[in-house]
Symmetry: C2
Subunit: 372 residues, 2 copies
């Protein structure tokens, strides 16, 4: 039922390769999930994602709850069929967006009441409701609804949220019924190591198919994120996949892979693409800069993506300045290719027992930020 196999381990770090099996295929880990918020990874067709080598994407239950609604998607054959994606899908619980986008949310023991950011309508979501919605979407991996609080919260508030998260975890497990989809739990506990430990120990004893580390990458210093991610990853069973939610940047991905994290999701490649921030092996390009106005070179001469094989920095700058849809599209293709290739290279490096060197070489060039 867990559908996870750990494969090779890095002899020098805690990095590892593995395989998550779902009803829609295999996800080689460590891996990165593009975010398909509203049943589409912005600007990409399913064919683009397939060609990029995407194996699993994340869809946001909160957004689909509001529009078009899980009943509609179920009636249309489920999320895979609705959006034409044949690979795997992980759905979040809806919690994160309720707290970040929804208005006036109020948490009780029963669940969360919030206002839709679209029309202000009042909506109630319990842990059972979240599971039910994710089942209607038909995702391959469901996430348990957790209680999110700012990472700067007091120990007392953090502890209360954690305790409720644990009680909700039981209700999520009870609510899954005989569902085919996997259900993963989320470890909370803010920046308090001992609370993370307590949460992890309790959740690990429950029959979850995988474990996420939540409540990080929400504004805390990166050292704090690393401290807690590394500490928490160590508490999770090696026979289950480990998912760090909301991470993102290339350097963070490689560092967290070294902590033994298997799975990531983030809007960084797609949102930055639309804002004209592009990742290359030599660092980041801000495409609107006038230095690229007549630059006939590709974004990254070493990149084999469609964008780099066919278009110059000058053309991409022109599209961006002219506010053309094609800018979002070509930039997203490139950034996703960058992220997916990075993870693919990391997997190969782990398999070949040269992950630390790979990571060092990559970061040396990437962080130098010297665009030729």
């Amino acid at each position: 039922m867990s559908g996870f196999v750990a494969l090779r381990s890095c002899p020098d770090t805690r990095a590892r390769t593995g395989r998550i099996n779902t009803a829609h295929g295999t996800v080689d880990t460590p891996n990165f999930m593009p975010v398909g918020t509203q049943a589409t990874v912005k600007a990409m067709t399913p064919l683009d994602l397939h060609n990029l080598g995407v194996q699993m994407l994340l869809a946001n239950t909160y957004h689909l709850l509001l529009r078009p609604g899980p009943e509609t998607i179920r009636e249309l054959g489920g999320l895979h069929r609705f959006m034409g994606w044949t690979g795997s899908i992980l759905t979040d619980s809806g919690g994160f967006q309720i707290f970040s986008l929804g208005g006036l949310s109020r948490i009780t023991e029963e669940g969360v009441r919030f206002a839709s950011h679209l029309d202000g309508s009042r909506i109630f979501l319990s842990p059972e409701d979240s599971i039910r919605a994710q089942q209607m979407l038909g995702s391959d991996i469901m996430m348990a609804l957790d209680v999110l609080i700012p990472s700067t919260s007091s120990r007392k508030d953090t502890e209360a949220a954690l305790d409720r998260t644990i009680r909700w975890a039981d209700r999520s497990l009870a609510g899954r019924g005989d569902s085919r989809g996997q259900l993963w739990g989320i470890v909370q506990g803010g920046l308090y190591a001992d609370l993370r430990r307590r949460c992890a120990e309790v959740l690990v004893a429950k029959p979850f198919d995988g474990y996420a580390i939540g409540g990080l990458a929400v504004g805390e210093p990166v050292e704090e994120m690393y401290r807690i991610a590394s500490f928490t990853a160590d508490l999770l069973p090696s026979a289950r996949p480990r998912y760090l939610m909301g991470v993102g940047l290339p350097e963070n991905l490689l560092d967290c892979v070294s902590f033994g994290i298997d799975l990531f999701d983030c809007v960084v490649p797609t949102r930055n693409a639309r804002n004209g921030l592009l990742f290359t092996s030599n660092g980041k390009i801000v495409i609107k800069q006038s230095r690229y106005q007549r630059d006939s070179r590709p974004l990254d001469p070493e990149c084999s993506c469609y964008t780099c094989r066919h278009f110059s920095r000058a053309y991409l700058r022109h599209l961006y300045m002219a506010n053309e849809i094609l800018a979002s599209r070509l930039n997203t293709l490139h950034n996703l290719h960058f992220h997916l290739t990075l993870m693919q290279c990391a997997r190969r490096a782990i398999e070949e027992a040269r992950f630390p060197q790979f990571r060092k070489d990559f970061l040396n060039r990437y962080l130098a930020d010297e665009i030729p």
Copy 2:
């Protein structure tokens, strides 16, 4: 030099097939050019256009003049290379957008002075300047700068504009030098048949490689457009291609093909796509309508485009309502496929001497507007 071969003629109408040869390939006529305003057909990659069977697209000299500028494009290897398009490109003269978008335009015998719609800067464009800009872009077919006036203009104003258009035609021909690109003239004369005749007779005597009918499809009743297009097409030499600028709607395309028009361009398929108006063999779909909310059928069950093969009306409605980039992309793919397939079917019908029946059958279904 003309690069045009007329092939089959319809025995019942003036419809005909032909072939325009350019430095970048063959354009089978009658044909439709998607509009690539700012060096991109909005939301499409060159690969999409190629897969759709696009043979020639139109680029707007006005827009490229302002941004990124023809010198920049020339320096980057010309427009084909800049935008990664290996097929043919026709550039307009810039005139139409100067009159419709540019602020405070003032026409003198020398040329047009206008204000950029982007930053208000004052720009002057003579017929020679327009040719020079189009040469820097490196288009396959250049258009001569003409004087545009409202189709409701008085006979006196129309005559004056026409006379200046003729003088500018001579200056354009002189300005082309030994340019490799074709140069086409534009017949003006408003809604006055005798003025159209006068303009056509004068221009036909000049060494243009093709002829456009300009100043139509700008708000006049469709019967007036048909009357003048049909009348003017008859005045143009059969050994040269005939291009009706700015037409557009499926029914107008087939009707004007029957007048002997070979080439069209219009933003109708692309702009309507972005606004959620979609063409099908049974008429038009306004995708935001709630009747499509749970409609699992493709836009057009007979359509073989990527959109119709993979996505339901319900999904396309969802993308449109959610303001997703993919909506523009999938809708544009479909509408362009519709227009290009329509022209391809028209060509085959002419070749097989069954164009009137084809047109009648198509229009019967299409104009009934009964979407199943």
